[in-house]
């Protein structure tokens, strides 16, 4: 399997040119690097402003590819893939943390007082698991909004970067994000979303 940044760059290009087989080989590599990046961030002590530049997928991108050889198009494709994968990784993390909190997961009835939904409604903490399900629903109706939320919220791209990646204007992204947020917020508040 390809490991060097050179190989990854080639795979990325092959995928961009329509080779779906390249995506099969590329995904596990990107996934692995994103997990490493996520781990570093999550293990870090929190400082007041240390989260300002959490552009996770940018970091992974720089680590993975040979920057001399990739162009803007490669970056676009990478971000699309990476944002989706980052969502999987972080939602997975949230699920597992919650299981730990529920007492190692399996062998006891959940103490209801500690149930996750209760706690997650405090302080505007987003329940990532509910958000994930809501995003699935939104995607069925409006895939572009889901993608924008993935890029902003999970991958940490700025509005400008998202606009550049998707080839859209900054104000369009602002509007899209605003609509996506209110739709998701309502879906979660009205309790129609169940974790899946």
């Amino acid at each position: 399997m390809a490991e060097s940044s050179d190989d990854i760059t080639k795979l990325l290009r092959a995928w961009r040119d329509g080779d779906e087989g390249a995506l099969h080989l590329l995904t596990p590599l990107v996934y692995r690097e994103l997990q490493r990046t996520a781990r570093r961030y999550l293990a870090r002590e929190q400082h007041a402003d240390s989260w300002q530049s959490t552009v996770l997928v940018n970091e992974a991108f720089l680590r993975l590819v040979d920057c001399q050889k990739v162009d803007w198009q490669d970056r676009v494709h990478f971000f699309r893939l990476a944002a989706k994968k980052m969502r999987e990784i972080l939602v997975d993390y949230a699920r597992k943390k919650r299981l730990q909190k529920m007492g190692g997961g399996a062998l006891q009835l959940v103490p209801l007082e500690e149930a996750p939904q209760v706690q997650s409604r405090q302080e505007n903490h987003v329940d990532l698991i509910l958000l994930n399900s809501a995003l699935d629903q939104l995607e069925a109706m409006d895939p572009r909004k889901t993608q924008i939320v993935e890029m902003r919220f999970f991958a940490g791209l700025t509005i400008e970067e998202i606009a550049e990646t998707l080839g859209l204007g900054v104000s369009t992204i602002h509007n899209e994000l605003r609509l996506a947020k209110v739709w998701l917020f309502r879906a979660i508040q009205e309790g129609k979303i169940d974790e899946s």
Binding site: R32, R39, E45, Y93, R95, K97, L107, A115, V126, G156
Partner: protein, 800 residues
């Protein structure tokens, strides 16, 4: 919400969100005038706009870091990569994490060579080196394997690799019921899904497996509305001796399902058994019909309190259009105490089926009723009153418990009959005919005077006879029809049944008479119109037959068979455009019907459009690989292109598969023909002899069948048996000398004995009757004519 609507909502929302209250109100009124639901949707979104401060303002890692702090154990939680990209069992490449269940993680993997997806479950990392969990993981898979049910996610394999155990499962491509719960379900759609869920759980409970985590997220719906109940991960098998989930070893398996769907006894940690699943399923059913969870409260604790303490709000408040019996069933499923709950999922399933029967019955009756009222209003007013009282009686006053415990034989017989009847409507699949025979037999065991069941049994036997040569089946069909008439001599179905048998015996006048009797008792019986049409068609009464087909379609426009028969009617007259129209309608109504694709291919074939024909024949074989005639014609299409090498294997296959079908001699004859022209005379002659034997067998059941005689004539001709060939030909042409196909085949026979003059005459007549020139050109048998008299041959082909 559809995309156009959503676009509209967005446009108005963005226009309104920046305005002050006054401007906003008038803006909304202007933009949404006459569309209150549009305004409601925009208002609803706007009302959340100022409440969502801070929502999604931080990134996900920030949120997680604040919730859990700097996570020194993150290495255990975000498990690096070790699995994605792994190859399991040398075949499956793990590509994606799908989700985490109680004990394990589920990944998607793709078959390395075939690309088909599977789901792979592995034990969660914290349990991986514990022998007891590992054993339990294997045990669970072993139990789940027992569950071979179409509505349960199937287990394909258990693989041990590098000291780890993996369960390979069916990958379900679909949505969860959860994502579909954004609106209440209609009764039909609900019943369709609910029946499949209940059926899956009944199968599980029969194996003594309790699911224990039934919830919308664990119920998958595939694109074709098939239900797959998944994640028997929490499930366990009850001890064979113990009745409950709290005996000795089970005690420490107490484990979290999803609290919002848990039965009260499970929440309280009391004894539980399979009835816990009934409660959970009841919550799901309620949510589907009401569009909201019956016990949902502000948080989980309040929700579980309500599950234990409160009755659900009456569902009629949310959904006014529910059958009473269904409401009672929901109440019976949601009883707090297991002892007061409906006893088993099998009972739930039966109730749902009864609800469906009544629902369909009422709907159909109402339709028929409104139609009749228009004709005879006064008589119906009185009848309607009686009907309403009667229906209200059964539905309102029948206590559910009585029906459950003493469910009458008659009701069960009706269910079996209904299932059989539904299957028989899709008789294009031979296995459906067999299954329906079995169901009718069972219904008749419960109720030996059930006239409808006898009539349908007779129909089923007739259809089976059409697929085989077994004359005994025709006798069985006859007996069943006569029984039906004995128990109800005014029953339309009984006479339709008798008509069908008469038709198959070649007694077309008798058949027509029976169908007419049927129509007297039930003028709306589309099956009687359809049968009468065929009987008239067989008597050569074109216009009358056509009229009857149109009536059959008018009475029941959505039944594929009427269109298909009508198409065949046109097809036989080589009115291909009309035929294709009917076949296309039939295939739209019955998309998995290989027979209809076969029918669609045939007119193209006869037009000489072999490519299009080959496409449809291949589609037919894709839907029903055993469809002999499609394979046969596919071979013929290749044959007429004179690519014998391509044709022979297909035709050979067709012969093997046609063994035992009514006209299997046609397949043998075709293969013999291909051998003959490819130069293999030895095999050819042997097969022609065999074909003659088979055709004679068919003649015994149906003496005087012109097609059979025609085929025998041709086969004898190819064997140079002149006397026999001419005798059969004469019988075949008797009364059919105006039939282009018969005349064309006759020409082949004449050419074989070098009677070119007669052959030309025969073909010239056939041409004047509509025989297409391409046929003459394509058939190698007729090549000799071109050599004998090129001028006359060209003239024959010239368009008139």
């Amino acid at each position: 919400m559809n995309p156009e609507r959503w676009q509209e909502v967005q446009k108005i929302y963005l226009g309104a969100v920046g305005l002050d209250e006054v401007a906003r109100t008038s803006f909304l009124e202007r933009m949404c005038s006459g569309d209150p639901s549009l305004k409601q949707e925009v208002d609803s979104l706007l009302s959340f706009d100022n409440k969502m401060e801070g929502f999604l303002e931080q990134t996900a890692v920030e949120v997680l870091a604040q919730m859990y702090g700097a996570d020194k154990t993150v290495a255990d939680t975000v498990v690096l990569d070790d699995f994605i990209g792994t190859v399991i069992d040398d075949r499956y490449v793990v590509s994606k994490f799908i989700g985490a269940g109680g004990m394990g993680d589920v990944y998607r993997a793709d078959h390395r060579l075939m690309g088909t997806p599977v789901a792979i479950k592995r034990l969660a990392s914290r349990f991986r080196d514990r022998q007891d969990y590992r054993q339990r993981f294997i045990d669970e898979a072993r139990h789940a394997v027992l569950l071979d049910h179409e509505n349960v996610t199937g287990i394909k394999d258990v693989v041990e690799q590098s000291g780890e155990v993996f369960v390979v499962m069916e990958f379900i491509d679909g949505q969860t019921l959860r994502t579909r719960l954004d609106h209440p379900f209609g009764v039909d759609e609900f019943l369709d899904i609910a029946i499949q869920c209940a059926s899956a759980l009944t199968a599980a409970h029969n194996e003594r497996i309790v699911h224990l985590d039934i919830k919308p997220a664990n119920i998958m719906l595939t694109g074709s509305q098939k239900v797959k109940v998944c994640d028997f991960g929490v499930a366990r098998q009850l001890a064979a001796t113990g009745e409950d989930g709290n005996n000795g070893s089970a005690a420490h398996w107490k484990l979290a399902g999803t609290p919002a769907y848990m039965a009260p006894e499970v929440i309280k940690g009391n004894q539980f058994d399979a009835r816990a699943d009934i409660f959970s399923l009841g919550v799901v059913f309620y949510e589907m019909l009401a569009g909201k969870h019956p016990f949902r409260a502000e948080d989980l604790k309040a929700t579980t309190n309500r599950i234990i303490m409160d009755d659900p709000p009456p569902i009629s408040l949310s959904n006014r259009k529910l059958p009473r019996r269904l409401i009672r069933l929901l109440d019976a499923m949601l009883a707090k105490a297991p002892d007061r709950r409906i006893g088993s999922t099998a009972d739930v399933l039966r109730e749902l089926q009864i609800v469906r029967l009544q629902h369909n019955f009422l709907r159909n009756t109402w339709r028929g009723f409104t139609a009749s009222v228009k004709r005879r209003p006064l008589a119906w007013a009185a009848a309607a009153l009686i009907l309403v009282i009667a229906v209200a009686g059964t539905i309102y006053f029948e206590p559910i418990s009585i029906v459950l415990r003493h469910s009458s034989k008659r009701m069960m017989a009706v269910q079996l009959y209904t299932q059989g009847h539904d299957l028989l409507n899709e008789y294009y699949k031979p296995e459906n005919i067999d299954a329906s025979i079995d169901l009718f037999d069972r219904a008749l065991k419960l109720d030996s005077t059930y006239a409808e069941a006898y009539a349908n049994l007779g129909e089923a036997y007739s259809m089976k006879y059409e697929n085989t040569t077994d004359v005994k089946l025709l006798q069985s069909a006859m007996n069943a029809c006569l029984n039906s008439r004995t128990y109800d001599k005014t029953l339309a179905e009984a006479h339709v049944c008798l008509g069908t048998v008469a038709q198959q015996r070649g007694k077309f006048e008798d058949a027509a008479a029976e169908y007419k009797i049927a129509l007297k008792s039930d003028p709306n019986a589309d099956s009687a119109h359809r049968g009468l049409a065929r009987a008239l068609d067989s008597q050569g009464k074109f216009e009358e037959a056509k009229e009857q087909y149109l009536k059959a379609i008018e009475k029941n426009p959505n039944y594929w068979a009427s269109h298909s028969w009508f198409g065949e009617f046109y097809y036989k007259r080589e009115m291909f455009d009309d035929a294709i129209k009917q076949f296309e309608t039939a295939s739209a109504l019955s998309p998995n019907n290989g027979r209809v694709y076969y029918s669609l291919g045939t007119p193209y074939f006869l037009n000489g459009q072999f490519d299009k024909a080959i496409e449809y024949f291949e589609k037919a074989l894709e839907k029903q690989p055993y469809l002999t005639r499609a394979a046969n014609n596919l071979g013929a299409a290749y044959f007429l292109r004179r690519s014998y090498d391509k044709a022979i294997p297909i035709l050979k296959d067709a012969v093997d598969r046609s063994e035992g079908s009514t006209k299997d001699y046609l397949e043998a004859g075709n293969l013999a023909r291909a051998y003959f022209w490819s130069g293999n005379r030895k095999d050819s002659f042997e097969l022609y002899k065999h074909a003659i034997d088979r055709a004679n067998t068919h003649l015994e059941a149906n003496p005087g069948n012109a097609d059979d005689h025609l085929a025998i004539a041709l086969y004898n001709a190819m064997l140079s048996e002149e006397t026999r060939a001419m005798t059969n030909l004469e019988i075949a042409l008797r009364g059919h000398d105006q039939d282009a196909h018969s005349l064309e085949t006759a020409a082949w026979v004449y050419v074989q004995f070098k009677k070119y003059e007669t052959a030309f005459e025969s073909l010239e007549r056939a041409r004047s009757l509509g025989l297409k020139p391409f046929k003459i050109k394509a058939d190698p048998e007729l090549d000799a004519l071109r050599v004998s008299d090129p001028k006359r041959y060209d003239k024959l082909l010239a368009n008139k």
